[in-house]
């Protein structure tokens, strides 16, 4: 089994598909980082124009003022208990910024690295994974080499399993590069720090409304870890689905086309048909897992991180089962 996976990885390396994916990552991250840099510069100048102060030097004053205000609010007896933890979290963040002399308006590599993945998780990351996964089986079918693999003294399920495990490894590699590259590239723009800054998370949905009562601060590095872990899960699910399509369809181009259009359609669906109940069971609608961490999701009753994960898990396991059943039974006619 081990050597089978090695075979698959070596094929992947030689095919240069992985290299291509990494090249796309480099290009996109660079553009994204430059854009972020540019826009944060612009915000700074806008701020200084509008307020007559230079945001970079005067942010202390602003933050101090905000902090006092927040503390006053926290002491207000008329405040709901559930609002208070949100306030506390905000105070902690400001205090941290003041204590460590970090301008909250400034970007950091840590923030960027996280933000990049949060922005990529529902479309860009899946596309990269699709590029890798769609070729795994259909690539061999279209070149005819699948025959060579299946007439060895290795059962078919083992061949497919080795391919599937290779895909999982590659997903991790893609995330690894996404992380390392965005850290390095954005570090050049914004500096390499920011890994201990507190980030608010722990939002919940109670009775159809965003509930902030259990909000807490976690260090940026832990938050980033969680974001990338969820991204890995998304990659795993999207990978499994495109893997299945790759098993079912003989041509790589067709299998990329099918899964990509599904994905893009999913983004439409989640936008236009959000009150249609059945859409929440579609995998494309559930890809924005990191939104549950940052609390930026559309509050829809019944949609929680756990729900989304279970839906995605259902899709992934169905795909895997179909892949294996079909692959071990089908007649190879190429």
């Amino acid at each position: 089994m081990f050597s089978l996976i090695e075979n698959e990885v070596i094929k992947m390396i030689s095919k240069k598909r992985l290299l291509f994916v990494i090249a796309i990552l480099v290009a996109l991250i660079s553009v994204f980082a430059y854009g972020q840099h540019h826009s944060s510069e612009r915000i700074k100048t806008q701020l200084s124009q509008r307020m007559g102060i230079s945001a970079t030097t005067d942010w202390h004053k602003l933050a101090d003022q905000q902090l006092i205000e927040l503390k006053n609010r926290l002491d207000s007896p008329y405040r709901d208990e559930k609002d208070k933890s949100a306030l506390r979290v905000r105070i902690e963040q400001l205090q941290y910024n003041l204590d460590n002399d970090i301008n909250p308006l400034e970007q950091s590599a840590a923030k960027f690295t996280t933000k990049f993945m949060e922005q990529s998780i529902f479309l860009f990351l899946p596309l990269l994974i699709i590029m890798l996964a769609s070729d795994m089986v259909s690539g061999e079918s279209s070149s005819g080499t699948i025959k060579l693999l299946l007439v060895r003294n290795v059962p078919r399920w083992k061949v497919l399993l080795s391919k599937f495990l290779t895909l999982i490894m590659l997903e991790i590699i893609v995330l690894f590069f996404a992380f390392v590259l965005s850290e390095i590239i954005s570090g050049l723009f914004f500096g390499f720090g920011g890994w201990n800054a507190p980030v608010a998370t722990g939002f919940k949905l109670v009775a159809g409304k965003l509930d902030t009562s259990s909000v807490l601060n976690v260090p940026q590095w832990r938050y980033t870890l969680m974001v990338y872990s969820l991204a890995f899960f998304v990659s795993f699910v999207v990978g499994s689905i495109s893997f299945m399509i790759s098993v079912l369809v003989r041509s790589t181009a067709a299998s990329i086309g099918i899964i990509m259009s599904t994905l893009v359609a999913g983004n439409f669906i989640s936008y236009f048909l959000s009150d249609w109940k059945i859409t929440r069971y579609m995998f494309m609608v559930n890809l924005r897992l990191t939104d549950y961490l940052s609390g930026s999701f559309q509050p829809i009753e019944g949609m929680t991180l756990l729900f989304s994960i279970l839906v995605l898990l259902g899709w992934a396991s169905a795909s895997i089962i179909i892949s294996f059943v079909y692959f071990t039974k089908k007649d190879i006619l190429v």
């Binding site: 390396i13 006053n72 207000s76 008329y78 405040r79 995330l175 259990s214 870890l225 969820l230 961490l293």
Partner: protein, 269 residues
């Protein structure tokens, strides 16, 4: 061999990565499903609320309750005084009376929220003992429609205004049920975006204020304090750095206006 070493590094990265990511995944589930580990003091607000409630009625003190949104609360005032501060300052200097103010303003409160706040009876205690009730509400009801396009805007405006007015009616009813005698001071809306506003927006805001005033006037012991005119040519001077709330000078200006309207009444209290 180059490919061989690449395979080994991929293997190691993938393995280590998997362990780390699995751990992170577990944490992510934990953090979104579990309750907050931070201690929440459930009883604290009740105690402090009790402390603030005046126990005795002093003839030289006036009880005031400030209700409503962030403007009521005093957000934006860099001196953190708000209405309670400026009003009591004024009264101290000009009359023999002293104001004890309770501020129950909440940032971002809309008319619906205010009504809920009152109907929850959390403020019952303060309400019954208060002499003056200062209300600032409605700004958040109307604010979000400004970004809509002009076609949607007018329709949406009507919907919001209707809802707001019916909320306001119920609010007054609720206030009067608890405290039939206090004086209610109702603040009108100003336009913080004066420079960037077109004619239609101004008309909408004026019609909002007009309707509000009509409603306020139906209550015999309520006065409507306009702020629109005060801010119209003074946005630079009176609006805080956040571009929305009044600053210290702005609060001061509104307070002056309130004080002058109240002078005679207060003297009689």
């Amino acid at each position: 061999m180059f490919k061989k070493s690449m395979w080994y590094s991929i293997l190691v990265i993938a393995f280590v990565g998997f362990v780390i990511l699995a751990n992170g995944f577990y944490q992510a589930i934990l953090v979104t499903t579990q309750a907050n580990p931070q201690p929440t003091s459930e009883s604290a607000p009740l105690e402090s609320a009790a402390d603030l409630t005046p126990s005795s009625k002093n003839p030289n003190t006036i009880q005031m309750l400030i209700l409503g949104d962030s403007v009521a609360k005093g957000t934006g005032d860099e001196k953190s005084k708000g209405f309670s501060g400026y009003l009591s300052e004024y009264l101290k200097n000009n009359t023999s009376k002293e104001i004890i103010a309770d501020n129950a303003g909440i940032d971002g409160l809309e008319s619906t929220g205010l009504l809920e706040q009152l109907q929850s009876h959390r403020l019952e205690e303060q309400l019954t003992h208060t002499d003056i009730i200062l209300v600032s509400i409605g700004g958040n009801d109307i604010r979000s429609i400004l970004t809509l396009n002009s076609f949607d805007k007018e329709n949406e405006f009507k919907v919001r205004l209707d809802r707001y007015l019916s909320n306001l009616k119920l609010t007054f009813k609720e206030l009067r049920r608890t405290n039939p005698n206090s004086i209610i001071i109702f603040l009108g809306l100003y336009n913080p975006y004066e420079k960037a506003t077109n004619l239609v927006d101004s008309q909408l805001l004026n019609s909002w204020n007009f309707n509000t005033q009509q409603l306020v006037e139906t209550d015999g012991k309520a006065i409507f304090i306009p702020t629109y005119d005060l801010f119209k040519y003074n946005t630079e001077r009176f609006v805080a750095q956040d571009g929305l709330h009044p600053n210290s000078a702005g609060y001061q200006a509104i307070s002056n206006r309130i004080s002058r309207s109240l002078e005679m009444i207060i003297a009689g209290l």
